[in-house]
């Protein structure tokens, strides 16, 4: 039984019944994509290259030359794109500084940082493994990243508080299990301790329901990833052409 659609997007809101459409009813008209020669060439190249690389996973000996060749081409193209991107970044932010646009001090910080790392790289071993460049990453970049990551603990509390205030939801289950696991991991909950039963409950939760759920998610995700990759390989999804 077919159902009248409210608009072109209403496939999922109230799904139609499974099976063939009724006899006599016209087949839905679906727009077909127009494909010109350039797009067809792009698709053909992507199918060929993707197919060869995929084949290389199953027969490493036979396709190793092709896979290495495509990898080296990719690296070369990426290097030139990186140079272009870096030049463009400097151009855009230099323009902002010159015209004193809103937030121009941030642009100054960006340009100075970029040029500093570049000069350090050229001054030393001219590689990303140069000690001076590594010093910048270890003492400036990584601490900033770690600080930002540490903030997540406070964001978790804030998000949980907001979710709990909104009323009964999965957040309550999440909170209850989180509290149980935290308490069950504490020293007083170790086996033989006063609250040893909590450690056993925590271990059981992690070993059975959590692991089962995780495996379900991983299995579904893997199948979805295979389907998505195959759609790209077969030219059904074409994010590389517009």
């Amino acid at each position: 039984m077919t159902r009248p659609r409210q608009d072109d997007s209403d496939y999922a809101a109230a799904p139609p019944a499974r099976g063939r459409r009724p006899a006599g009813s016209p087949a839905p008209v679906r727009p077909r994509r127009q494909t010109n020669g350039f797009v067809a060439l792009n698709i053909a190249i992507s199918i060929l290259v993707g197919g060869l690389v995929l084949f290389g996973f199953f027969a490493p000996g036979a396709a190793v030359v092709a896979v290495r060749l495509f990898s080296s081409w990719t690296t070369t193209i990426i290097v030139f794109a990186l140079l272009l991107g870096f030049a463009n970044l400097l151009r855009v932010h230099a323009g902002r500084i010159r015209t004193m646009q809103a937030g121009w001090p941030y642009s100054v910080a960006l340009v100075v940082s970029a040029l500093t790392v570049l000069v350090l790289g050229f001054y030393g071993n001219q590689t990303v493994g140069d000690p001076s460049v590594q010093w910048v990453f270890t003492n400036v970049y990584q601490p900033i990243g770690s600080s930002l990551f540490a903030l997540l603990a406070f964001f978790v509390v804030s998000a949980a508080f907001r979710a709990l205030r909104a009323g009964p939801s999965a957040a309550w289950v999440l909170l209850a299990v989180a509290v149980l696991v935290i308490v069950g991991t504490a020293p007083w909950s170790q086996p033989g301790g006063p609250l040893g039963i909590l450690a056993e409950i925590k271990d059981w939760l992690i070993a059975y329901p959590v692991l089962a759920g995780l495996r379900g998610i991983v299995l579904g995700t893997a199948l979805g990833a295979v389907a998505t990759s195959l759609r790209v390989l077969l030219g059904i999804d074409r994010p590389y052409v517009s």
């Binding site: 999922a12 099976g19 998610i217 199948l223 979805g224 295979v226 759609r231 059904i236």
Partner: protein, 279 residues
């Protein structure tokens, strides 16, 4: 090892065969049923509401990139596909659009899918440009008006999340579709959007991200659901066939698991059978 490789080839073969066999039948009018996913319906409604209000929709393909096995290529591709389909709706309804990515290759693909979405409704000349004047009431941010396609970071999820959070607190953003290779850093964006009252549909495959999304987002697409956007949002026959193929292979794997459990229960060694090693 040979059996494991053979199984992988068999799964690929079943996938391709199912897609090639089912897609033409669906195209000819065979109807298929998929369970409703509230996240996709909510995304559609949010875009319609944003169009009425003249406010911006934020589309994110997540902090991942495309091209290697460690950066969440499949999730990013799924996010990019959703971005394209949603951009088409934004173009059709005149909703201002802000699309962000966390990788260089994902950025160029995002530009393509957004342009493709606008081209499908004959509005290629109206593709939003970063910093250009907007017809909507989107406010001016540090980077210009809150519209266009932007690469906020490259292979640095925290930096991407921090930048996306800053953009989300901009008053012009009213709803967001954040689907991709998110990790726990999602909280930075989710909390900022929660404070700004942005309606969020988020999706990821990472369990750490999913836990935070369940707490912070209005709707969450769990794991494999992010790969189903094509079948739900534009009901393309090949995408529907691909989703059916997923279900078919899932049942095959369930059968294999049950047989494996029975085999192991009866005393056989599954490790030895599959990998050629003794436990």
């Amino acid at each position: 090892m040979l059996i494991a490789n053979g199984l992988a080839v068999l799964i690929l073969f079943v996938f391709i065969l199912a897609i090639l066999l089912l897609a033409p039948r669906i195209r000819q009018g065979r109807q298929v049923y998929f369970r409703p996913l509230p996240g996709f319906s909510a995304a559609r409604e949010a875009i319609a509401r944003a169009a009425e209000q003249g406010r911006t929709t934020h589309l994110s393909a997540g902090p991942g990139n495309v091209g290697d096995t460690t950066s969440g290529t499949a999730e990013t591709l799924a996010g990019l596909h959703l971005m394209g389909r949603t951009a088409q709706r934004c173009a059709a309804s005149g909703t201002p659009l802000l699309a962000t990515t966390g990788g260089a290759l994902a950025f160029s693909l995002a530009e393509n899918v957004v342009r493709g979405g606008f081209a499908e409704v004959g509005r290629l000349s109206e593709v939003p440009v970063v910093g250009a004047a907007s017809s909507a009431s989107a406010p001016v941010t540090l980077e210009g008006r809150a519209q266009g396609v932007r690469m906020l970071a490259h292979r640095d999820p925290l930096a991407y999340a921090a930048a996306a959070a800053d953009l989300s607190e901009c008053e012009g953003v009213s709803n967001a579709l954040l689907v991709g290779a998110w990790g726990p850093e999602y909280l930075l964006v989710g909390e900022a959007q929660g404070r700004a009252g942005v309606q969020v549909v988020a999706g990821a495959t990472d369990p750490g991200a999913l836990a935070t999304m369940l707490v912070g987002a209005d709707h969450t697409l769990l794991g494999e659901e992010i790969f189903a956007g094509g079948a739900y949002l534009d009901a393309h026959p090949a995408h529907q066939a691909s989703l059916l193929a997923q279900d078919t292979v899932r049942w095959l794997i369930i059968v294999v698991l049950i047989v494996g459990v029975l085999f192991a229960t009866l005393g056989g060694s599954v490790d030895n059978l599959l990998w050629g090693v003794s436990p």
